[in-house]
Amino acid sequence: MPEDPIVRSSRREAVAAFAVWLTAMSYTVGYCYFYGYRDPAAIRLIGGVPDWVLYGVVAPWTVCTIVAGAFAYFISDADLGAELDESEGDLFAGDEAGNE
């Protein structure tokens, strides 16, 4: 049997989500490192918000919310399948000896 399409699409989406996490972390921590972790006297307020917060946290947070919308729109829907009936008992009955 070929691999279930849900496994393939889930794996693909997981890699994409992992990449978004890595990008968001790199940008936010990187920006805050260069423009926030410095002499506090050099920090400017823009509308009451420190500049490093505005560009290093609020801006990527806004982008991530938009990306989340894109994720919600683009990731594929699929039938999650039928539920194994409780009366069927253990899925692996009979496999245990070979696997342990």
Binding site: M1, P5, V53, W61, T62, A72, L80, G81, L91
Partner: protein, 536 residues
Amino acid sequence: MSESTSGAGTLVALLVFVAASVWLGTVAQRIVKRGSFLRGYFLGNRGLGAWALALTATVQSGGTFMGFPSFVYSHGWSLSLWIASYMIVPISGFAILGKRLAQLSRRTGAITLPDLFRERFASPALGLLTLVFVLFFMCFMMVAQFKAGAIVMKVAWPGSGALALEETTGNLDYYYYLGLTIFALTVVGYTVIGGFLAAVWTDLFQSVMMLVGVMILLPLVLTAAGGLEHASRVAAEQTSRAFLSPTGYSADGRTFLPLGLAVSFFFVWVYAGMGSPAGMVRVMASKSSGTIRKSIFLLAVYNMLIYLPLIVICICGRAVIPELSKTDEIIPRLALHTTRHLTGGPLLAGLILTAPFGAVMATVSSFLVVIASGLVRDLYQRFLRPQASMSEIKRLTYAAMILVGAVAFVANLRPVAYLQALVVFSGSGAAAGFVVPAAMACYWRRATAQGAFAAMASGATTIVSLYIAGFLGDDPGIGQATDFRPYYLLGVDPILWGLAASLISGITVSLLTRPPSPDLVARLFDCTPAALGTDV
């Protein structure tokens, strides 16, 4: 109403909330009755919709919601970086494991997390280890939450003279024990009545209340502070310019958020959300893949509307109420201060104060369900009495919840002192224990039971070991000021070492052990004949 104590409006709002929660429990009970008891009571018949999933699966506990405002007030704008990873929690929390986990739980018929690991890897031993870690980490967290619930109830009581959600063990008077009793009876009561769905619906209810509270408080506090620009300048003058910096201001001179911890919190919140047993069960209970998809966006919008305004509110709080000695009081204080001249002010304040109480109730009820399901389904039914009748399972489930509630009640007669630190410890421990094995279960055909066992054991024990080392060692002067602190190896949080240990041992042991049964893997990874026929 006095500014320093709560009035009848607060108590009325809380009692209405309690009544609504019990009502939700009874409505949930009707739905549970429609299907099989286990699947209905512990998993809501896999019927969670997008709103319920989005606002209840990854949102942090009541302890985190109560501790966060205090941190902002104490340390300043640094908290925006501390919490910044919440920008990515909706995507990581649902898109990395969500759809596959939901499918896997259906294919295996799993109702609980130990069930899922046991069936996926064909290993009762792995199921048992999962249960041990679920009980260990969740019991810690739940016992701590009981104290928070009792204190919120005490705060609401007119005449108690208390306004703090403080963590000290002092001031344990009549009102504390009254609050503890009412809280325990209520939360155990409605959870016993409605099970998983009652926990989810009250969680959803409190999440909405939290948003309403923040949206009401934001304009009131901004006006009282004379705008954000003025508030930030006043706060920096009161403390130092460090209040505006990412390292954060600390009255005792410690560095609240050095760069290593800033990186760490991009792991802590993301993986604690993903690896939470209660969160994973909710993903397993989702109605469809479309539900998971929509939840990503709903939660993203919710997080943005909650956390960024909450930071602004507490920065303004520093200007409106300077030099607050008990910083945990900041939200209740602001609620009472800014509504005192408004028509219906006491009720409005009560509405705002209901949010943290609801957060604690919802957290406790969801943990009660997970712990009871572990004891009944994964221990009693799997190991002790596989032939137990459904009526016996039902009775035992109710008894287990009452017993767990009673234990938490007794533990809080002399409450733990480190609520917020325990929340971080439990979240990190569960993340280090469960995230890598769950990813192996979902995506790696070659993963073996022994590999998953090693990943789980090494991740969780790494966290516990680093906390023991930190507790016994010297204060490094970074992070939160508490005795229950971890050892920050190379300046980063233990979760990074826990995840690394889990990943390395999971892969190594899997590759060194015999591959899993091809038949088992095929049944969980490949198309079923029925699916091929209907073109999935």
